[in-house]
Structure formats: structure tokens, C-alpha cells
Symmetry: C2
Subunit: 171 residues, 2 copies
Amino acid sequence: MDKIRSDGMNRRLRGFLCAAAGMLAVMAVSAGAADDLKPPVGYRNWFHVNTMIVDKASPLFAQLGGMHNVHVNSVGEPALKTGGPYPDGTMFLTDLHDFTVVDGSYVEGALKGLALMEKDSKRFAATGGWGFQFWVGGDATKPAVTDATKQCFECHQPQKAQDYVYSTYIP
Amino acid sequence: MDKIRSDGMNRRLRGFLCAAAGMLAVMAVSAGAADDLKPPVGYRNWFHVNTMIVDKASPLFAQLGGMHNVHVNSVGEPALKTGGPYPDGTMFLTDLHDFTVVDGSYVEGALKGLALMEKDSKRFAATGGWGFQFWVGGDATKPAVTDATKQCFECHQPQKAQDYVYSTYIP
């Protein structure tokens, strides 16, 4: 398998995966809502930011394997295109799906979970203005993040210049 | 690399790739608009249907390698969820992007082209009611489909029961 590297891409990937790893790592622990965030509706009609697949060759596959489809709502869409900062009310939603490999093609499968970053600069001041949550299977009764600072924000801190967001605009 | 198969998935994949192969195969020929279809705007805010990656292990990589992000407009979205048939005005848009592989993760890159299926049962009666086009680099002045029957529709015919569409709704 090819390994093509660039500093920018590695930085973006590392942060993204780090955050997601934190979210999923807690899934083995008893789930408890860290806050009252709720899974948003209609996100598949939000702006499609990018897609990434974490395959078996990745050391993070056990925790993070899947197809990550990232969407941003209309509040945050203009800021994505300028690299931030993001206004309050911005939501980034990743729908994480299974995938299968068929003759060298990677095909989307069932939903594994939903990851949310929601901006509220006052409410989430302790974590850069962002609230974080992950729902197993997209089920609102199964939040997996109990400590957003440790599980999520620590990995986003290096992206302070982009308002703690790793995703960038790809035309 | 794993090869996980299912009849349904193989059928869906084969048709999708067959059609796309037809579109791209003509890129070496001088381009000429087969009709007056135009690249739609705002498609990244349409419903995100699915994403598929055609990797180097695929025999179709040379023609089709890339990340295929499929979107459907609001006219066709309800019909996607019921498996068709689709009303006139439906558009399926695939934005095809490059990708790179970083430590086992597949990361989206630059835009390679846009593929469109647009429904108009009278105007495109000869091809199942669908018009087809592919624009190289998303450039409206670079249409690649000159014979929609041969390059596109022949591969969609087996999907007649789903109004010639291969994509299915994945919750």
C-alpha cells in the first residue's frame, strides 16, 4: 500500500484521528452524557466537507476503522472556506460508516456512529469554544464522550490558528 | 487487501464503475457536448448519497481511480429513499476527487471531474429518461460524453427495476 506524505496532510490526519480515537476509546467505558448536546438532524444535506477512510493498514483501524463523511452546517460553511474562525452555532458532523472492499474498491456500508463539534464560545469556553460528542450507532441515548477535554480537545489544541478545526476546504 | 463480496454490492459496484468507465474512456477522444447539460451548482449541499474509493488494486484504477462522492438533489431525494422511480428534474452528481494514502488512511484530494445523471423522461427517452455527462476537472467547457447510449446507458440498463440507478439509500 502506498504511503504518500505531506506535512499538511499528516498534520490534518493526525489531529482528526487523534480526536476520533479519543471519542471511540471511551466506548468501552460506561457511557454518560458529558453535556446535553444532541445528534443534529438533516446533516446529510449540509455542505459535504470531505470523506476519509481509515483502512486495516492503519494502526488506528481497531478504534477508528471506517468511512468518515464530514459535513458542516450553513452557519459554519462560509468560515470553512476562509479557514475560520467559526461563529457560534457552527456544527461539524461526521457520520462514520462501515465499508467493504470489493475488487480494490471501497464501498460504503452501515452507520457506525455520529461525531459532533458544536461551537458556543461561552458555554464551551474551557474547550476552545467547542462542544464535542460521539453517539454510538447515531443513537442519542448512547453518547460516548464523558471528558471532552481529555478525549477531544487536547488533540485539537495544535489547530488553534484554524479555530481548533482540522478540516480544510477542498474545492 | 480484503475482498469482501456480496451479490448486491457487486452488482451496484459493477454498474457504477461500468458507467463511469464509459465516461472516462472517451476523455482521450476529442471532447464534444452530447447535449446541453450543464454542471449544476450547489451540489455539495445536496443529500450525500454515498462515497466510494477506487484504489490501485482495482483493474479500473487507470480509468477511474479516485474518490467518488455521490449527491442527489432535493427533487430526487425522496425517491432515493424508496428505490425509485425518479421524477423529472432529478439530478445525481458525483464529484470525483484524487486521494492520497497516509499510514493506511485514504485522504481526499483535488477535484478530477463531475459526473451527472439528469432525469427528463421525454428529452432523454432514448436512454431510459436520463441524460448523462462528465466534465473533466468540473470544467463546463470540457464535456467528455459524446455518445450517452454507448458510454453510459448500456451499463445502466440492468438496473431498470430501480429506474436505471445503482446508488441505494444507506441510512
